[in-house]
């Protein structure tokens, strides 16, 4: 298309054509500049993260807990907290999300109910996570009067849920009906058709959805401030407050102590590159439907 666009240049003796070509060049130049700016921003952020975080990256990060200001420490408690809360969150969200997505395609296709649920789900996908945090605070923190890792996991599950519903629904929609009908013709009951035929056909896409949901929730900070809060020491008890990487980064980055800021950068480096790698891996599983 680039070559097509340049063809008017042949007749550039004409003033009108010259003006059109000039307008086109300006807009093309601006689009390229915009794209360059976007790529530059990504490189800048990642480069700066590497530059600031790499020096603090050491084994100690994974073996020692978050320190009081002025002493040595690592991020071990925050790393285990992030893994636990994200893990429990995704374990809660995955079966619920997959079944809900299944309902939209396999049971409710074309019904008013499915359409409403799909619309509400799409809204929840873009809902601000801080609102979800407030909601979970109301149902899981305020009644028991203390912050807990459970509440954090529930909040993350609610954020992951609509993403999983959405991808499950999109992927099941791509499964050809002929496959389902063939299974029905063999006498399989509906639930077996769904599990054995539809799920198997859509497996890669659904896995992508779950992995993208993991990537999304493992960087979430705001809802955890109202639910899991933080904890300066190592804990694996889901009913107590628990440190997570994003919340520790938030706390440490804003503090005036140099060693805390260094730890924040190291944590930021860890979380960002985990999330980005997870994203790339997830996308490599995705069936290439586009184009």
């Amino acid at each position: 298309m680039v070559t097509l666009a340049k063809t008017p240049r042949v007749a550039s003796t004409n003033a009108v054509v010259r003006r059109r070509v000039r307008a086109n060049r300006i807009i093309s130049g601006l689009s390229i500049a915009a794209t360059g700016a976007g790529l530059f921003l990504l490189a800048w952020i990642l480069g700066y993260l590497l530059f600031k975080g790499f020096t603090t990256l050491s084994l100690q990060l994974f073996t020692m807990d978050t320190p009081p200001p002025g002493s040595n420490g690592g991020l071990a408690n925050a790393i285990i907290g992030s893994l636990l809360i994200t893990g429990v969150g995704i374990l809660l969200a995955t079966p619920i999300g997959i079944l809900a997505g299944t309902f939209l395609i396999e049971y409710g296709r074309g019904t008013k109910l499915a359409e409403v649920i799909r619309f509400v789900n799409d809204m929840l996908v873009s809902a601000p996570s801080i609102i979800i945090g407030l909601f979970v605070y109301q149902i899981a923190v305020a009644p028991v009067h203390h912050f807990s890792a459970w509440a954090g996991a529930i909040a993350l599950a609610i954020i992951a849920l609509p993403i999983i519903v959405r991808t499950t629904q999109d992927m099941l929609q791509l499964v050809p009906d002929a496959l389902r009908e063939a299974a029905f013709a063999l006498g399989a009951p509906k639930w077996r058709v769904i599990v054995v035929v539809s799920y198997r056909a859509a497996f890669q896409g659904m896995l992508t959805g779950v992995l993208l949901a993991v990537a999304r929730i493992s960087g979430e900070t705001a809802p955890l401030l109202f639910t899991a809060l933080s904890n300066p020491s190592w804990t694996t008890s889901m009913s107590s407050p628990m440190a997570t990487l994003p919340v520790v980064i938030y706390k440490f980055a804003g503090a005036p102590y140099q060693d805390w800021q260094n730890l924040a950068w190291a944590g930021a480096l860890l979380i960002t590159f985990s999330v980005l790698i997870l994203n790339v891996v997830a996308r490599s599983f995705a069936p290439r439907t586009r184009n």
Binding site: N24, L124, I139, R180, G219, I249, A253
Partner: protein, 322 residues
């Protein structure tokens, strides 16, 4: 389809329905979990209304347009944060819309095929970077740059223009509504690009090719064929991004300045609903907690209306063009 399945298994095992229990259990739980999505939205609404009620009882609806945030005297109003939320979202759109439009045009019309995938992936990675990282980057990289170079330049030029000047006056703080808006624009950029790219691709290739065949330049094809065809979707993409920008928390909290004073200057520190929630929630109780919840409720109403309209527009486009 259920009919087919049941009668088929009926024939096989003679009388028993081997799939029936499974069908009821599986279909039933699928239905329950699908309904759960609706229950979630209802739950969020109800819980926020209940939590915000004491604040609205105390201050009435004037809570929304009262300029006050004083935990010591227990006087609260939503105006400063509501103002900050809307202004930062507005700045984000002013910057983000043209840039994202440019990237989307580049990706769909200009980009050579072998670069399409890597550049799209890079844009999507920009969306995957956690918002707290944008916040840190904003605080440690962008804010000093703003304070040293960009804001003095703006104050020196735009600040001297009559009328418009009042929006660009005062000392260069580095942090403030303007910086927060810039960070937000970077954050919502990838969302706009990826939706717009999808929307642009719904334009049938014949339309594009006929325009090119008539000798139209790339820009003319975009302006007179692609954009008119996909207008609803493009506006939907902008609104969706606006919804995100309004509710974004961590990126803003670091750089917005956390002041509850409304200043005419866009460069002055301010606060958004999300940033005050993140800052004050852990230490708040009583009327302050309820006032924060009331702010949360206002944010909920604001973002969900914007997102809802955006989704309706995108749905309309999808229905029209499959």
């Amino acid at each position: 389809m259920t009919q087919v399945a049941v009668s088929a298994s009926h024939g096989q095992r003679g009388g028993a329905h081997p799939g029936r229990v499974g069908n009821i259990l599986f279909g039933g739980s699928a239905w329950i979990f699908a309904i759960l999505v609706l229950v979630l939205l209802a739950g969020v609404t109800v819980s926020l209304v209940i939590a915000a009620a004491p604040a609205f009882r105390e201050f009435g609806f004037s809570f929304i347009w009262t300029e006050a945030w004083n935990p010591v005297k227990d006087r609260f109003g939503a105006l400063p944060t509501l103002y900050g939320t809307v202004i930062t979202g507005f700045i984000a759109m002013i910057i983000g819309v043209p840039v994202s439009l440019g990237i989307a045009i580049f990706l769909t019309e200009l980009c050579p095929n072998y670069l399409k995938r890597p550049i799209s992936t890079a844009v999507e990675l920009l969306a995957a970077v956690p918002s707290i990282i944008y916040g840190m980057w904003g605080l440690f990289v962008l804010a000093p740059l703003m304070q040293k170079y960009i804001e003095p330049a703006i104050i020196g030029t735009l600040g001297n223009i009559p009328l418009v000047g009042v929006f660009f006056q005062g000392p260069p703080y580095g942090i403030g509504l303007f910086t927060a808006g810039i960070i937000l624009s970077a954050m919502v950029l990838p969302y706009m690009v990826s939706i717009m790219r999808d929307v642009f691709e719904t334009v049938p290739p014949q339309f594009r090719e006929s325009a090119y065949g008539l000798g139209a330049t790339t820009w003319e094809v975009v302006r007179s064929v692609v954009l008119p065809y996909s207008r609803v979707g493009v506006i939907g993409a902008f609104m969706l991004a606006l919804g995100r920008a309004l509710g974004e928390t961590m990126a803003v909290t670091f750089v917005v300045g956390n002041s509850y004073h409304i200043s005419t200057s866009l460069l002055a520190p301010g606060s958004t609903i999300a940033s005050s929630l993140a800052n004050e929630f852990a230490e708040a109780d009583g009327l302050q907690l309820s006032s924060l919840m009331a702010l949360g409720f206002l944010l909920f109403v604001l973002t969900f209306s914007v997102i809802g309209i955006a989704r309706l527009m995108l749905m309309r486009l999808q229905k029209r063009y499959g």
